[in-house]
Symmetry: C2
Subunit: 578 residues, 2 copies
């Protein structure tokens, strides 16, 4: 029973649900619903899907996440980066706007949901750790640029395409003569208004005496006002007849029951992209959920989050949606608006369902340029090239990873970009440990402390070479240690009689390193030099005990470097009374 | 000039070359030449090339290695594993026995040589460190099995094919009815004789009073005797007429000047295999060279070895050969026979050149079954499944890497096998660091030592949580640390006021980990808990100094854990006088 309940966090917060929480949740739901209507339509457009797919993707998925998710404030639905990934993936197997395109989007959501649920059941959420922060930051920044560029065609009223920044720009330049002035006026008008609201309205309202939170909410309602205003304009002046592209007819219905396309060929083609979308969506969602939970000293369970997000995606697959995840902007609004429990999400779903059956006729007159403009303003807040500067200052390899991710995402597309970023950060990490930091140490006079002979004033004994290894020993760096010691010995071949490896920072010795230590022991023996170890950690010692190495070792294993010094420097000093 | 000389180690050993060294080198050359004649022919057969290609691949490459290589005893030429890789690679782009097959082998040698020289010039030899010992051992064992299986068709006198073990066995079973009895008699006769010589002759000769070294050399001459005897049989009894496959006509000439096929399409197809062959050949060769050098307290320079092996392969590409590397068996024979300098290699090359122009008419009558039998006996000594047992005992992840390499090499072929082994060992290493060992520590009473509270009897203070992190902090494990601390705090939310991270084993903090520490600092601050660091290493501190993290840190950075204990436990004890 306890185990069963683990998969239904609703039993946890449901027990204590009261009228106060209900009031907070209802308020938050109204605000989030207003925000989500234009956003859902816009992201569906970005994904290359009909606008209603965005609304549908925000109803059942939210309900399922409310049932299975552990975050109290996360708002699940279509988000910018996942919509872009969807467009880029499905664009390779179907033509945008066709029925097979929409069916493939369902398949993608199904694969993504299934994969997330499996990860969650097997508690494999830690796999998301392969994505380093700089790779994520670089990817999101580059995606923001790509998304903004992809929406320019709607703002300008031209038909253009392309999956990379260069393709998009070239295509726009080719079609520069076709710019539709009225469309562009609406598009740039909305962009200017939204930026104006963001930077000017909030301070103005605050100065007029409104409290900060209310001023904040009014500013965030900007997109809703822009949608309403331009829809009214389009209807009043019959802008469709003047060539402005409108959203057009949207079915007036609740989310339909849909079946993904299960053809094996399509499933195979979409599998890898689905894995990528799942992991990127999961990482984004979990970081938002963690941040919000920490503010209220709540905890989220990453493995249960996988199940919650997986269920949401499976829900999207069967109700006309497409891949979803927890969004940053909407979750923050939900949190700030006072949402106490996932019930707020359920109420949002009801609000969107009402919108789907009542407001859709009005959406006919909504200009596409308005939606594109809201997307551009939203994603430009994701673009943050400062990660380049801060990684540059901190570490070269982190900079290389973020730079390559941005460059490759912009030039070769989102999938190649993020995949290269992951592979590169793993390889760079391994490469860093190829040449571990190894310090020759001596004793700080009068103490039991041993420090780097190049940084400190320490005592040494000519016959004793002590090396502190500042890295775990494994296949990638074992050779380096061997070469380094043999080179060092060839310099002082005749004086050194004992070599001590101080292993206080060696957390692991893998099989390759064990073999290298065995070889080294033999090589040193043949030169008449004894090999010793000191300060070997418990877990490492436990493993070494089962090997022949310790039996074959020409020297001893000392508990502390001080013991090694006491035993070896005394003996040697007698032997070399220089 | 010094830099120029670096690339020509011959200036190093050439200066002191004398008559004594000459005598030793000449003796070694005669012995190695005798060994190499049958071996070169056999490995060419294994590579799917005409027999003379093996001889040619042993002449100019040896001379070039003598000029550029740093090992005094390494014998370069065709080796079993590289021959198998060549057959498997070229078999995908050309039909064995055709002119385009031979030309593609030259291209492969050219690409391989060029790649090795480039690695050497840029001093990138450390890249070979991506191959872990278990992966190499598993790969060589599986290759030995594959090679032996691939030669069975020649021993049985049937035509069979296949690149994986199952394909080979199925193909042999299908052709079981075609077994040529006389061929099989020769083949199994040679195998039995060679195993007999190896296990029985040497002890016998020693017992008869010969010294061990001489007995060893006579035993190693087994293949030469088998070749001579079966060639005589084939000639005397006209075995060709009785259906025994012979080597046939071999051109009687010095290595010809040849040009690789430089077509871009072929170069592209062979590029990745060439990289693989280069690295595997390099790793095998360097480990042999290192072992032999250490016996005489000599050193080899891995980067210069790349140039030596690269030059040898470029030589092979232009003189009718195919990819070569330093072989284990021949190098040991060379060393044991007393070779002092690379001049021994040069003399071997002259010996083989003489053989190429004088002995080739005799080779006509050599049965292919004899060559196949010598290959089988030679490679079975490479097969050593005990690596499975020893890794199983030592560490699960090393076992997984070696098991997967063996299994995939046998079932999917050599290239997939070794590539999977490399990727797997990298991923397993990273995965191991996902959940780093983190110990909660307390003070050993009356000392300045701090140990794991679960392993030792130590003092703790309720308000102070000290965690020793036994791993570098980077993107793959930063989240784990954060989750672990927050979970620990949610258990003792009200008593803990200070958290100290003891960083004595943290060799690196990458940008992802830095961001996680910043987040953690903020989260703890909001809970009223201070975050401290202790025993941060010099290089890590150098990097942290340039960040905002240290300024934002709610607690302090203590030089030693003892200082942290002194400052925090005292204060807390006053605040919590329980």
């Amino acid at each position: 029973m306890a185990d069963f309940k683990r998969y239904f966090p609703i039993f946890d917060w449901g027990r204590t649900y009261d009228r106060r929480a209900l009031g907070h949740d209802l308020t938050a739901a109204v605000i989030v619903t207003l925000m989500l209507i234009p956003q859902s339509l816009a992201y569906a457009l970005l994904a290359g899907l009909p606008p209603e797919a965005g609304i549908y993707a925000s109803i059942v998925p939210i309900l399922l996440y409310a049932l299975f998710g552990t975050s109290r404030a996360l708002a699940v639905g279509p988000v910018a980066v996942v919509s872009l990934l969807t467009a880029s993936t499905i664009g390779q197997v179907a033509e945008a706007g066709t029925a097979s395109y929409a069916a493939a989007a369902l398949t993608l959501a199904f694969l993504s949901g299934g994969f997330l649920v499996l990860l969650g059941l097997f508690r494999l959420g830690f796999l998301a750790n392969f994505l380093s922060h700089p790779v994520i930051a670089g990817f999101i920044t580059a995606s923001g640029v790509l998304i903004a560029a992809s929406q320019l065609k709607h703002v300008l009223g031209v038909s253009a395409d392309g999956h990379t920044l260069i393709e998009m720009i070239l295509s726009l330049v080719t079609h520069a003569g076709d710019i539709h002035v009225l469309t562009a006026a609406i598009g740039f008008g909305v962009i200017a208004a939204l930026f104006g609201v963001r930077s000017g309205l909030k301070p103005l309202l605050t100065r007029l005496g409104l409290n900060t939170r209310l001023a904040d909410f009014i500013s965030k309602a900007g997109p809703v006002v822009a949608v309403a205003a331009t829809t009214a304009l389009a209807w009043g002046f019959d802008l469709e007849a003047r060539g402005v592209a409108l959203v057009g007819a949207v079915p007036q219905s609740l989310p339909p029951l849909t079946a993904p396309d299960f053809s094996p060929e399509l499933m195979r083609a979409l599998f890898i992209p689905a894995v990528l979308i799942s992991i990127i969506g999961f990482v984004e969602s979990v970081s938002v959920a963690k941040t919000l939970a920490a503010k209220k000293r709540q905890r989220i369970d990453p493995d249960q989050e996988l199940i919650g997000l997986g269920a949401a995606n499976l829900g999207a697959a069967f109700t006309g949606g497409y891949p979803v995840t927890g969004g940053f902007a909407r979750s923050v609004v939900n949190f700030d608006a006072g949402a106490q429990t996932p019930a707020a999400g359920a109420f949002t779903a009801i609000g969107l369902a009402l919108a789907a059956i009542s407001l859709t006729p009005l959406i006919y007159f909504l200009p596409k340029a308005t939606l594109a403009a809201t997307i551009i303003v939203a994603v430009l807040s994701l673009v943050n090239f400062s990660i380049l500067k801060s990684t540059w200052r901190y570490s070269t390899s982190d900079f290389i990873a973020v730079f390559a991710t941005i460059l490759l995402t912009l030039s070769l597309g989102v999938e190649v970009g993020v995949a290269s970023g992951v592979v590169l950060s793993v390889l760079l990490h391994i490469t860093k440990t190829f040449k571990p930091h190894i310090a020759e140490v001596g004793r700080v006079p009068g103490t039991q402390h041993f420090r780097n002979i190049h940084r400190h004033n320490v005592e040494t004994t000519p016959s004793l070479l002590t090396l502190r290894i500042d890295e775990s020993l494994y296949f990638a760096n074992a050779n380096f240690l061997e070469d380094m010691i043999l080179n060092r010995l060839s310099r002082d071949a005749n004086t050194i009689q004992d070599v001590v490896l101080m292993c206080s920072a060696v957390n692991e010795v893998d099989y390759s390193a064990l073999e290298t230590l065995e070889t080294l022991n033999t090589q040193l023996s043949e030169m008449g030099v004894r090999l010793h170890l000191s300060e070997v950690k418990g877990p490492v010692m436990d493993k070494l005990k089962h090997t022949h190495f310790l039996k074959a070792l020409s020297g001893e294993v000392f508990l502390s470097q001080h013991d090694a010094w006491a035993a070896l420097s005394a003996g040697t000093l007698q032997a070399n009374p220089a």
